[in-house]
Amino acid sequence: MNKNKNKDDRCRNYSFPGQHEGEEVKLILRKHLIVLLPHLIYISLMFLLPIAFYIFFVPAVFPAFLIAPYERLFVLLLLIYYGFIWITAFMVWVDYYLDIWIITNERLLDIEQIGFFNRVVSELDLKRIQDITSRVYGVLPTMFGFGNIKIQTAAEERRFELKTIPHPVTTRRKITELYRAAREKDRFIFRDRDE
């Protein structure tokens, strides 16, 4: 409970470009860290590759790399290689980090970063939500506690899908609470106008 309260307080400090006046960030969602696992395995393998190359391949095929001037050349090549690996790792991380769902007291923003030069931002008014479904399907999602949330909006508008997010059930409940609060606020505004 206390942990959730701290998380709420932390979210309140966040802001994003295009935020409305009086709009409060209630929830920040990113994909579950498990989506990074294949990239992590790939990058680890790429990281270990030169070491394996040095142990098994160099003595047999390029013995010159073990002798004086070429030894340093090998180190230089290794450093350049690791520089590229480091950049690749950060590119993956940026792609993960900037893929985000921001839920405020007014709307839901779905920001998708695809590579460096493709960014899709969609938004949905919380009051227009008609149906929210959370789904945890499969062994890994059940074990690690991640899943999808589908949000159906009014009329023929597109369906929002929050994929591989952690704790989908809790998040669905929270979105429902925010939806109710938004509706309630709206009703009060209309009542005030009528009076």
């Binding site: 400090n13 966040y14 802001s15 994003f16 920040i28 004086a68 001037p69 070429y70 340093r72 050349l73 180190v75 230089l76 090549l77 450093l79 350049i80 690791y82 520089g83 590229f84 480091w86 950049i87 950060f90 590119m91 940026v94 980090y97 900037l98 985000i100 921001i102 920001i111 970063q113 460096f116 960014r119």
Partner: protein, 90 residues
């Protein structure tokens, strides 16, 4: 300045460090522009930039520790099939 050295500067310094600079700037720019304000994005962006500068410095230092005149890069390129140094045929 030997030819080996010039080739080495181009191959091992200018091109890789140019790519490093471009990508580190791109990543830094994206984090700074699109990252949420109030979380640790800025710290991560600065950490990444510094790490790239650190790697680049180590590369430059290693580069100048190599005696390029003793390394037969030119011979290697000539012996391979790249037509960088066209030979005149009589």
């Amino acid at each position: 300045m030997s030819q080996s050295f010039i080739i080495a500067v181009l191959t091992f310094l200018v091109i890789p460090l140019g790519i490093f600079f471009l990508f580190s700037w791109l990543i830094f720019y994206h984090l700074k522009r699109y990252g949420l304000k109030g979380d640790s994005t800025k710290k991560v962006a600065v950490f990444f930039r510094l790490s790239m500068i650190f790697i680049s410095i180590i590369i430059i230092v290693t580069f100048f520790f190599i005696n390029w005149d003793n390394i037969a890069i030119r011979d290697f390129i000539e012996r391979s099939n790249i037509n960088l140094f066209p030979t005149e045929y009589e």
